[in-house]
């Protein structure tokens, strides 16, 4: 019987029978924790393994601080310090990515820590973003991660798989985020509950790495385990350069079994926006255009790449952000920040009136770079707009282009490109 991509990746990491529904022990190539949950991972290890080694392999174990960076509360500062001291004592020094590094999942791609075909676990529920490079990333609780630190393995129930095939060229003002929201509009918040998605079709194939990250990042909001995109030449080349490693590229067998196969035609797809309070509450931007906004944030693991911010810079260059709008920008990683600096984009964004933060999960996590107040309307390039998630205001999710045109206009506005 043929195997799906997720079944092949798991089969590479276990000796047991990889059939959907079976639980197998799976070897983990990369074990990580971030500042959220990291301290509890350390506490679990100290409580349960007081007089033993606590880390199976210091080279394969990582801390990535990204949630509240630098710490803005004493609680976070203390938790980061607990994890930092543990990392200094037990891990390779280069495996501690401290508060300056940026979003852990992105750092792992940039540093070549995660490559296609690998298994990666951490305390970030969006770690399945690694599906963008064909790697099996998975967020878990602090007990599970402590166990992975200690043993290098985890148990996992092999998920069923489904395919989503997207064909067609979206309109020139629609981007990877609009494609992603288009999928959410089709399948809803439970559309891939407990399943692995394999994305195919020429719309997906033409996405660059940043676009693939955007699409894979919101599989969590579709209820999925992971969304896998088969790496193209560009992605393979990137991952080889970054890792200096060779890796297998898994393709599904022709007779692999899927629970369903969805075909979407996104020809001339127009810009989309998710209205509060659900990422699946998707409408065309044109339907809500004209709604005044108070704030715009371009950030997050979904849309905080250089390509996202460069597009925003291009759109606001030489212009001024609307007087009534505060615009916040958070690069995903230190590398993205450096690229912006090098290419003069920080200057362009600054001149237009934007606030530029250090890299990290600001904009989603714990109110880093600000919350919304009651009545405040915010357009975000992030992935979640649940009530209260980013404060008391209303959050709309859209592409960087829609965010930029909205920031200039002072109201939700269809980007013109």
């Amino acid at each position: 019987m043929g195997k799906t991509i997720i079944e092949k990746i798991i089969a590479d990491h276990t000796t047991e029978d990889v059939t959907p529904g079976n639980i197998v022990w799976m070897g983990i190539d990369v074990r990580s924790a971030r500042d959220f949950g990291g301290a509890n991972v350390v506490k679990n290890l100290e409580a349960y393994y007081p007089d033993q080694s606590k880390v199976d392999d210091p080279e394969k174990t990582f801390f990535t601080f990204d949630c509240v960076v630098p710490a803005k509360t004493i609680g976070y500062a203390e938790n980061q310090q607990i994890a930092r001291v543990f990392a200094r004592n037990y891990l390779a020094r280069k495996n501690l990515f401290d508060v300056d590094a940026g979003i852990g999942s992105h750092v792992m791609i940039e540093k070549g820590i995660a490559v296609p075909g690998t298994t990666v676990v951490g305390t970030d529920s969006h770690l399945n973003i690694l599906g963008a490079i064909g790697s099996f990333g998975q967020g878990m609780g602090d007990q599970d991660i402590a166990f992975a630190f200690k043993t290098g393995i985890t148990w996992f129930e092999v998920p069923e798989s489904m395919t989503i095939i997207i064909e067609g060229k979206p309109a020139s003002n629609a981007f990877a985020k609009d494609v992603t929201l288009g999928v959410l509009q089709e399948i809803g918040s439970k559309g891939s509950l407990g399943k692995a998605i394999e994305f195919y079709g020429n719309t997906v194939e033409s996405l660059d790495l940043a676009g693939r990250i955007t699409l894979a990042s919101m599989v969590t909001e579709m209820g999925g385990i992971i969304g896998l995109i088969t790496p193209n030449k560009e992605v393979i080349h990137y991952c080889q350069n970054r890792s200096n490693k060779d890796f297998a590229i898994h393709k599904a067998d022709r007779d692999a079994i899927y629970t369903e196969s969805l075909e979407l035609d996104f020809t001339n797809l127009e810009p989309l926006i998710a209205l509060p309070p659900s990422p699946a509450n998707v409408k065309p931007v044109s339907e809500v255009a004209g709604k005044p906004v108070d704030s715009v944030i371009v950030a997050s693991c979904t849309n905080g790449r250089y390509e996202d911010l460069a597009l925003v810079a291009k759109m606001v260059k030489g212009k001024k952000i609307h007087t009534d709008v505060m615009m916040k920008i958070v690069p995903a990683t230190k590398e993205v920040y450096a690229q912006l600096l090098e290419n003069g984009l920080i200057n362009i964004l600054f001149e237009a009136g934007a606030i530029i933060s250090n890299p990290g999960c600001g904009g989603c996590a714990a109110g880093q770079i600000g919350m919304t107040g009651k009545g405040e309307v915010q357009v975000s390039t992030g992935n979640r707009n649940f009530a209260g998630k980013q404060g008391a205001g209303d959050t709309y999710l859209a592409s960087p282009a829609t965010a930029a045109s909205t920031a200039l206009a002072g109201e939700i506005s269809v980007p013109e490109l």
């Binding site: 047991e16 079976n22 639980i23 197998v24 022990w25 679990n44 349960y48 393994y49 033993q52 080694s53 609780g141 007990q143 599970d144 402590a146 166990f147 200690k150 043993t151 148990w155 129930e157 407990g194």
Partner: protein, 177 residues
Amino acid sequence: MKKPTTLEGRVIVIKDQNGKPIDDIDTDMIFHNKHLHITELNEMGQYTFGNLQGWESFPEKAKSGDILIVGKNFGAGSSRQQAVDCFRSLSIQMIVGESFGAIYKRNAINSGIPLMIAPEIMIDDLKTGDNIKINLITGEIFNVSNNRSLKSAIPLSKVQLDIYQAGTLFDYGRKKE
């Protein structure tokens, strides 16, 4: 010493006042979020089902060694470990249900309490107070009170058995050292 793989005990079947199974019991009904600060196992039991209408007195009714029988999608919602540990706190021997929330299932397996999926357990004529025998390896269920076999449960996976035999996920990790 190996733990038993056939368990016997009195069942408590979670149904509503009209005798219908209650599906989608979420973690807030099992162990409400107002008690989330509690980390001591022996303090958890008293709050079990504190937010499930008709079952608020479960902690007084439950006896050590009881087997809990539940319907579909039991333990939906949050990832809180206490929603599993509250039953361990009351010395509930195992949980049998028609289906479970994914994270709940993961947490139960990690804590070593046997959790079995028996897709038709609520269809069978099983009443609170009956004694059953259940085989973790074959999934066979036998009602000792009326000498009748019930429809089988899905056998425990190897992983689940390994962790159950070791104690908890962490005990299993210790043994691997």
